[in-house]
Structures are given as C-alpha cells and as structure tokens.
C-alpha cells in the first residue's frame, strides 16, 4: 500500500437469528427444505395479512446489542424499505430506519499485537429476502429467474460498523470478533458458508491527512473470511491504481468473483437507491422495559475477550493460544470441558491447538461434528500422564478416536498398546541391548551423551515401542554408571 492514501473501511453484517419461527409469522426458519414449503400468506405478502413481531427476535437483537456494548433504545419502530426485486414478494422489506433497536456500540480487535476499538453505529432488525436461482449463467444473461420464498421473513439483524477500519486485516479481525461474539451470545448460527452470516464492505481511499472521505464502493458476496480479506485487498489496489492515474472512483456496488479473484461492477440504476422509507402501519412501536434489558444483560455468557483474559491470567496460556481457543465458542467450551476433567490447561491447550485442530481442518469439520468428546480427550491425557501410554502412542490413539469415536481405553486395549513401565520387565531388555551394543556403551562411557539416545531407541525397538522412554533412559544411565 502506497503511503499517500489512507484506506477507510466500514462493514455491514447481516446475521440470521436462531429462532424457531420467522420474524413476523409462524413459519419455520430451518435452512433448506423443499422450495416454497416454509411459507404462509404473511411471508408471501398476500393481501390482507398482518405481520406480528416474534418476541424472541426482539430479545435476540437486544442480546446481541448488549454484547456489542450498544445503547438499547427505549422506543423503536419498524419501517418499510421500498424496492422492486422479486426476492421480496411485497415489493418492500420490513426493516428499521431512524429508530433502530441498538446503537453506539463497539468491539475491540487486535492486529499485529495492536489493540483497536471499532465503533458500531447501529444494530437493527429486519426480514430476510427469498432466494433466486437464475436461468442463465449470470443474472444479466438470464431470460428468467426462479424464486424460492422459504428464506423470506427469516429474522436478521444488520450490524453496521463505523468507517473505523484501515486495512483488510483489520476488517477481517473485526469480522472474526463479531462472529465470535454472536456465537457466544447464541443468537445466530454464524455460518458464513450457509449464508447465516453475511458481509458487505464499504471501501474508499483518501489522501493521507484528508478529513473528507473519498468516494466509496460497496463489495458484496463475501462468503468467507478469506474472501473478505482478498476482496478488500483487491479493491484497495484497484482504487489506488485509478486515483494514481488521476481517475475518479465511481460510487457503485461491486461483487467479489472468487474464481477470478477480482471485484466486478454490478450495474444498478441510480434511481433504485431511493428507498422511500416510511413507518410500517401494520406494526406497532416497541417500548423497551429497562428491567427486561437488565435481565438479558445478566444472562449474557462470558464473552470472548473476558474468556481470553481468563485463560491467559488464570490458566497460564499464551495470548496466541488463548486467542485461537476463544475465537469460537464451540472450541472454548470444548477446552473448558476437557479442563474440568483433567486440570492441566496448558497440556489441554497444546492438544487442542495441535492434534485436534489439525484433524478438524484436515477433515473440514466443525467442533460440533467431531466424534471426540471432551471427556474422552481428558481420559486420553490422563492415561498419558499416568504413564499407561507414551506421548507417541497417545497421538495414534487420538487419531483413531477422531476417526471412530471410540473411547481411548478401548483402543489401547484393542491394540495392546500398553506402555511397559515395569522396571523388572524392562531391566532384562536393557541388559540385552547393552550386551548387544558394546560400541555405543563405550562411546557413552567416553562422554558421548548422544550414544544413549541410540540405546534407548534399541530398547524401544525391542519392545515394539511400548517401553516407557523416560524409564528406559533412567535404567540405562543407572546401569552404565
């Protein structure tokens, strides 16, 4: 990035709320399902119907707002956002305009060891739109489109950040933290690949030191953290090239093309941006009881920042490990549950950061999909600590646990993988190895410390890897004086 421009980024994030039913009707919110089977007259926008707000949606929006340090409005209302697009059968979306449920929040990010506070302008409630499948390769080349209204009316919160981010890394860190906070509060599934968490980025450049913002573009279709970062990096370069050649940025919406690694213009008519918001007469205002807000505040779980702090301060984990483990609630809960059974936090963290995450990533699995339960991992670590199996065996056992979901005890028995920690049993093998390797014994006695490693290796080989290496080491040293 050239020094003469400052990058300004703001994110608009939509999160689907994890309620059982839609925001204004009693249809299921469940993902997928046969086309147009999760619908009713209300979400189809048939004439004469009346939307009624799902109380859980309000509760979840307040819960998310509190977790994001927002002020909760005492008075809030819904408005109609008017536009013609077939994914909305009513030709308007019920959203919130001037009196959103939450505003003036913030969250904290950390990039390259530097902490930074990113402002949150507002959080508001709205209904999701339906899904379009285009007849051709792209919307522009399609002669027709097919509409499935199952998703129409699924509750969303839109979280709008302040234009406080200055790099693609900061935008990514914000998104990761936001995802973690929403996951901890339990209001959303936050699955970017399923579209329950979606992100649009507003990006502009301005000369260093300038007060006015430059012309911005809005990037859509950012379906992963990677896409978010790559798209922003690309867009920054694209805008900088234009500005350095003396050109002008056109205010427009662009889409990230993951395959080609570029953002492309989505030409939209200028007029389309006049949404003509007005209060929805079908919905009455919401007046929030401060007592209720307090109850929701009291019910918030420990949030990622506090949890990370606790893992570092009380359990002695490194900042890095604590950051990764608390980056997802599922992983943090897994960690807590293992530690509850086997109170060696650092050892547990090493296993989670190492073997567990490695196998999850390699198999493209979520924590919740893992066959290994926290109790089983604790049992494995206990077996290792008690010397029943060696560290190397533990890894083999863990791989099988991960694959089959079997208990470590069962696997150890099946494979006959019991570590030999009986001095008497090992002494004979040690004698044999010493007798068979006079040269190494000579070397060791002559001061070559390394020679003992070879002898330990020979004992391990004789015992098919089942000897306790620490004990073998000790026995050899005792024998050789």
């Amino acid at each position: 990035m050239s020094a003469q421009y400052e990058v300004v980024i703001g994110l608009e994030v939509h999160a689907e709320l994890k309620t059982d039913t839609k925001i204004f009707c009693s249809c299921p919110t469940e993902f997928g399902g046969e086309e147009n089977t999760h619908v009713c007259p209300v979400c189809l926008g048939l004439p004469g119907v009346l939307p009624v707000l799902n109380k859980k949606v309000l509760e979840y929006a307040v819960r998310a707002g509190l977790a994001l340090n927002c002020e909760i409005a005492s008075f809030s209302k819904f408005d109609r956002k008017n536009y013609f697009y077939p994914d909305l059968p009513k030709a308007y979306q019920i959203s919130q305009y001037d009196l959103p449920i939450c505003k003036k929040g913030y969250l904290e990010i950390e990039v390259n060891g530097r902490k930074k506070t990113i402002g949150i302008t507002r959080v508001h409630m709205e209904e999701d739109a339906g899904k379009l499948v285009h007849g051709g390769a792209t919307i522009a080349t399609s002669r027709y489109s097919l509409v499935d209204y199952n998703r129409t009316g699924v509750p969303l919160i839109e979280i709008v950040s302040e234009p406080d981010m200055r790099s693609a890394e900061e935008a990514r860190a914000y998104m990761e933290k936001l995802k973690a906070i929403l996951e901890y509060t339990g209001v959303s599934d936050v699955r970017m690949e399923q579209g329950s968490l979606r992100c649009d980025a507003n990006i502009s450049l301005r000369p260093m030191g300038a007060k006015e913002f430059g012309t911005k573009t809005e990037i859509k279709n950012l379906n992963s953290f990677r896409a978010l970062q790559k798209a922003i990096e690309y867009e920054i370069e694209r805008q900088r090239d234009i500005l350095e050649e003396g050109g002008k940025i056109i205010q427009e919406t662009r889409s990230w093309d993951e395959g080609k690694g570029v953002t492309v213009s989505l030409r939209s008519k200028e007029e389309a941006h006049d949404y003509r918001y007005f209060p929805d007469p079908d919905l009455v205002p919401v007046v929030i009881d401060p007592q209720w807000v307090q109850e929701i505040r009291d019910s918030l779980p420990e949030l990622p920042d506090a949890k990370r702090e606790r893992l570092v301060q009380e359990m002695g984990l490194s900042e890095y490990d604590a950051g990764i483990i608390t980056g997802s609630r599922a992983l943090a809960d897994f960690f807590d549950q293992v530690v509850a059974e086997y109170n060696e936090p650092k050892m547990v963290a090493n296993w989670i950061m190492g073997e567990f995450l490695r196998l999850l990533n390699a198999n493209n699995l979520e924590v919740a999909e893992s066959k290994v339960k926290p109790r089983s991992l604790a049992a494995l670590l206990k077996a290792q600590a008690e010397g029943t199996i060696s560290g190397k065996m533990a890894k083999t056992v863990f791989e099988e646990m991960f694959e089959t979901g079997k208990e470590p005890g069962t696997i150890i028995k099946e494979k006959g993988m019991v570590q030999i920690s009986d001095e008497g049993a090992l002494a004979a093998v040690v004698e044999k190895v010493i007798a068979a390797n006079p040269q190494s014994v000579e070397d060791y006695k002559a001061g070559k410390e390394k020679a003992i490693g070879f002898l330990v290796g020979q004992v391990m080989k004789e015992t098919k890897g089942q000897a306790n290496p620490g004990l073998v080491n000790k026995l050899l040293k005792d024998k050789l004086g």
């Binding site: 999760h38 619908v39 009713c40 799902n54 109380k55 008017n82 077939p86 009196l99 489109s145 919905l283």
Partner: protein
C-alpha cells in the same frame, strides 16, 4: 415546495407506473394540492406534541416463537402466473 412534472416522472418510475402526458399533468396538480395542505398543517404549533409513530395507541404486540402450519404447496403456487420446479418463475430482472 413545488412539485414539477419531473418529480412526478421520478416518483412514477420508482413505483413502476407508466403515465401518459395527461396523467403527469393531473398528478402534478394533485400532488401539489396535497403538499399545500401539508404546508397548512405545518403552520400549527406542534412544540409540545410527541412525534407519532403509529395512528393507534398501541405498543408491544408480540407473538411467541411457536411453529404453526405452513401453506400447502399447491395453494402457494395457485396464483403464480408461471412456475417451474416448485418455484415462482419471473421474467429477467436486470
């Protein structure tokens, strides 16, 4: 504020209405008449009046997060001018 034919054309486009020249003339006059009436309302002193968000004196009408029956699929698509694969079929969008 005075509404011009241009404003009417803009609003008509937003509402996807196709207006004849005569219509445009007529709506320009009607909309101006409405705004004139608004001007009259603006003369009232509303200093101590709370902004109105809704015409009814109601607030906090909620429903519980409980599932109810959805519509039968053939009813959902009964009025669709065109359908395909269980979806509403619509003409090209852009």
């Amino acid at each position: 504020m005075k509404i011009t034919v241009k404003d009417v054309e803009h609003v008509a486009l937003l509402a996807r209405l196709e207006l004849t020249e005569q219509d445009k003339e007529k709506y320009t006059q009607s909309l101006n008449a409405i705004l004139e009436y608004m001007d009259k309302l603006n003369q009232i002193d509303t200093h101590d009046v709370e902004p109105t968000a809704h015409v009814l004196p109601l607030k906090n009408v909620f429903r519980e997060d409980k599932l109810h029956r959805t519509m039968a699929k053939e009813l959902v698509l009964a009025n669709a001018p065109e359908e395909e694969d269980g979806c509403f079929k619509v003409p090209r969008i852009v």
